[in-house]
């Protein structure tokens, strides 16, 4: 049976793992390759690296990081952050990344999704959507969740699927960093509407939150960062707990 996936996320800045609350106030969380290796050993099903380096210059170190990660771990991983062209994607896939995620650049130029999925296959194109509820409406935000757009989250999700996205990484900016639980309703809505997998992100703080998002939220995968970095939730323990309530996981 296909299992639900637990995905630790590593925010990377200038080659180091960092973690902030609501995308600001960053603290150092260690060497990304070491962390990746630790997570793979603990039973993570996949990894996501989001590069938040400020300059293009520093982003180029990302390709080297991807190579080091691919050499050290043998589970799938996705790389995102500042990707806006076929050549960006080719460099990362050639270095050993399994998938790439695009976010702001896809909002700015939706045709990029078609272009990338035609070139590399939809299985390796993840579209990341940062969503925030504004006056009762879920709206897509870009640039690390700071800039609101007029796109409604569900409508945008449908569009990116039609354009060839293979997966959606849905981050609720309202929940991110709060450890108060994932965005249940929004995730469920996307997951039930779309026929591609949805990764829920933002707000996971306890094992119960993961149970909730897989059962009630219908997520295919759940992503979190700091709770795994700082071992507030241990991946192996979490997966055992999920198994006990008959949520299919790889042990």
């Amino acid at each position: 049976m296909l299992t639900k996936r637990i995905i630790p996320c590593l925010d990377v800045k200038d080659g180091r793992t960092v973690k902030g609350v609501n995308f600001v106030d960053l603290r150092d969380a260690g060497d990304p390759v070491e962390l990746a290796d630790r997570y793979a050993k603990e039973g993570a099903d996949e990894l996501v690296f989001l590069d938040i380096s400020a300059t293009l210059e520093k982003r180029k170190t990302l390709v080297d990081l991807v190579k080091s990660v691919a050499e050290a771990v043998h589970i799938p991983f996705t790389v995102g952050g500042g990707i806006s062209s076929v050549s960006d994607v080719k460099a990362l896939l050639d270095a050993g990344a399994d998938k790439v995620s695009v976010n702001s650049s896809a909002v700015k130029n939706p045709g990029l999704i078609n272009e990338l999925s035609n070139e590399f296959g939809s299985q390796c194109i993840v579209v990341a959507i940062d969503s925030r509820n504004v006056d009762g409406v879920d709206l897509v935000h870009t640039h690390g969740g700071t800039k609101p757009t007029e796109l409604k989250t569900l409508e945008w999700a449908k569009e990116v699927e039609e354009r060839g996205a293979g997966e959606i990484l849905l981050t609720s900016m309202d929940h991110d960093g709060t450890k108060a639980g994932f965005a249940m309703e929004l995730t469920k809505q996307l997951s039930e509407t779309l026929s591609i997998p949805v990764i829920a992100s933002g707000g996971g703080g306890t094992e119960q939150h993961f149970k909730d998002i897989f059962v009630g939220g219908k997520a295919d995968a759940a992503l979190a960062a700091s709770i795994f970095h700082y071992k507030e939730v241990e991946i192996a323990h979490l997966k055992n707990e999920l198994k006990k309530v008959n949520i299919p996981v790889r042990l």
Partner: protein, 196 residues
């Protein structure tokens, strides 16, 4: 040991190379040269991408007949496995034809999405490449097309229906999942293949 990885426009090569080097293969040769491929001890045929583009690339490189007439252990991975069949529904493409099967597309159901993406368990393992791999062990899949159960099936997996997780004909082996991305279980499968 000389291990050749067939070079064509397929992704995912770097991870295969890293996995092989972890298993002690110093310098796998990424090549589209028929002689290099024929003289290798083992041949790995990776794959990721779209079938008709991949077949076009293999045809242009003159590799179809070469790959079809090898005698050493050969391992197709993911799209590589599908291209080893006769035909695929993906853009109605004629494939290499090593294994006389037609590759079909998954039809998504209301609660089962396509692509089949993630870790799933394999069972009914019938080949030395699964030596030391427990029944129901999990490996990592990403695909929208599948090889149906057939006489050549050496491992099964269930998603929407039971399908071939691996097939074999003579010296030709193939797995639908990505062993190079399937943690220890995947490494075991690659290690077993290298020992054939």
């Amino acid at each position: 040991m000389k291990v050749a990885i067939v070079k064509y426009n397929a992704g995912n090569i770097q991870s295969v190379k890293f996995a092989l080097s972890r298993l002690g293969v110093e310098q796998p040769i990424l090549t589209d040269d028929p002689e290099e491929i024929r003289s290798a001890d083992k041949v790995i045929f990776p794959g990721q991408g779209e079938a008709s583009t991949a077949m076009k690339s293999l045809n242009e490189a003159g590799l179809v007949a070469v790959l079809k007439n090898l005698n050493q252990p050969f391992l197709g991975v993911c799209l590589g496995m599908q291209l080893m069949c006769e035909y695929t529904e993906e853009n109605n493409t004629k494939c290499i034809g090593i294994i006389p099967e037609t590759v079909k597309k998954f039809n998504p159901s209301s609660d089962m999405k396509v692509p089949h993406m993630g870790w799933n368990n394999i069972y009914d393992l019938k080949s030395p490449i699964f030596s030391g791999v427990a029944d129901e062990e999990y490996i990592y899949f990403v695909h929208s097309y599948y090889v149906p159960k057939c006489d050549h099936t050496i491992a099964e997996c269930d998603y929407l229906l039971p399908f071939s997780a691996a097939i074999q004909k003579d010296n030709y082996f193939a797995v639908q999942a990505h062993p190079e991305k399937s943690a220890d279980t995947g490494m075991k499968i690659l290690e077993n293949f290298l020992k054939l």
